[in-house]
Symmetry: C2
Subunit: 277 residues, 2 copies
């Protein structure tokens, strides 16, 4: 049960709030001036919600298990976000205890089931940007996305856990076929796996595959964040030559494709190209 | 300056927290038991962060302007999320003042620039799920996505505002060519517009187009939320027959495509089909 704070502790906290409000003028405030409220009854230590939120080194295998389990509670996007936020709530406490991780339910199945961005990436990316500034978050998320397109899912670790340790809530405990998505899109990732593994999208095996993938993506996110905050992060993903070749003419400066787009052009376009690179 | 609460008010707030903690057992708690912290110094009215957060009717045109302006501060995903959260912070106060809208910077350009899910949709969807339960959020977001694929962007209202009222921070004030994206993907949405409008992806005009689109998507989100909370929401989007025809064989039960996927199959697949529907 939660201990009630003493009046002395409360006053110390209130003082900290004033100090933080001054400090906040230098950093970016949570909500700009127009959104500030006065005279509210709620008592909140505003200092703790200043962005980016505090990160503490996490255990990748602990987060993998949390995310895998949470997949069955709310899908891939919630699973990854809840696994990461829950671990930080245990490690740091507030403000991670304040954010409703349910806000990421919608990202499952590539966004309300539409098959766009993989929800495990969506949920993990939102957590990264909660604890990392904009430029570095984009670098870390770009690395996460690139890794996702090239790795064998489910990874050996997730397959091994599920098959031998029985600690997960999976409804299928055998190792699963591994495939490379070649894309950050849910539809491509799931369809490729289903085709090669021989399971339907509505199958128990496919759900377990996505649960293991959710654990894998959350664990990789921990690796990236631990490396970044440990001063060890180095981008390793190299955009495929096929993509950079296309961008040479179709990029943002002389063509009509945003320069950052790194999805594999061939997956959708190759069949109707009137020229080859 | 924020008024310090009296001891009496604090005790009343603490009582409310206990009541909320009990109520939370029925609803879904913000963070499950494993994430609960004890003995923390921060003083927070936990009741205010119970999910889903309180929604109040918003002014769609006010939110359109906020989102358009915020695009230039942090991109499409941040723009939509910040515009919506900022309006709710003004209307409701906490807990909307607590969430760092900067956590959505990453969604710009379809996710760290990768061109996947349109960031304006990503940011708006996260807000919807913050104030609406899972099933209804998916229904509202599905409607938002469907509307997005079929509407002319920028809408007449955004084009008219930008051209005649000069209240926005746009760097280009003429009406812009309108195009139908036919997709929820940033890459398809932007590339289609660039091709038909004759502007490069790196141009000022393209940025202004995406800023207006950000306002349009946030305004549509307000329409949907106002309708939902007013008991007036009715789904209007109909999945194209071309998609449902494909799903007849390629759906989750007998094929390898998740049943919820509603992206237009033809955009990527038509050229290499060995049969037509």
């Amino acid at each position: 049960m939660k201990r009630q704070i003493t009046r002395k502790e409360f006053l110390a906290s209130a003082t900290k709030t004033v100090v933080a409000a001054s400090a906040g003028a230098a950093a970016m405030s949570v909500i700009p001036a127009s959104g500030e409220q006065s005279g509210q009854a709620g008592v909140v230590d505003k200092a703790s919600t200043a962005w980016p939120w505090q990160y503490k080194t996490l255990d990748r295998e602990d987060v993998r298990k949390r995310a895998h389990k949470s997949y069955f509670d709310g899908g891939c996007c919630y699973g990854a976000f809840h696994g990461l936020v829950g671990a930080l709530a245990d490690a740091v406490g507030e403000p991670f205890t304040l954010i409703p991780t349910q806000m990421m339910f919608w990202g499952g199945g590539g966004g309300a089931g539409w098959g766009t961005l993989c929800g495990a990436l969506n949920g993990s990316a939102s957590l990264v940007n909660l604890v990392v500034d904009r430029a570095n978050a984009n670098a870390l998320i770009g690395e996460l996305f690139g890794w996702y397109t090239a790795v064998q899912f489910p990874t050996d670790i997730s397959n091994d856990y599920a098959a031998h340790h029985q600690f997960l809530v999976n409804r299928y405990d055998k190792p699963l076929k591994q495939t490379v998505a070649g894309s950050t899109l849910c539809h491509a990732s799931v369809s490729t796996w289903c085709t090669e593994a021989g399971f339907k999208a509505g199958s128990t095996e496919r759900a377990e595959r996505c649960a293991r993938l959710t654990g894998d993506v959350a664990a990789k996110t921990v690796d990236l964040l631990n490396a970044f905050y440990g001063g060890q992060f180095k981008a390793a993903y190299v955009v495929p030559k096929a993509v950079t070749d296309c961008q040479g003419c179709h990029g943002s400066a002389i063509g009509n494709v945003q320069s950052g787009v790194k999805m594999d052009c061939q997956q959708c376009h190759r069949q109707n190209w009137d020229h080859l690179y």
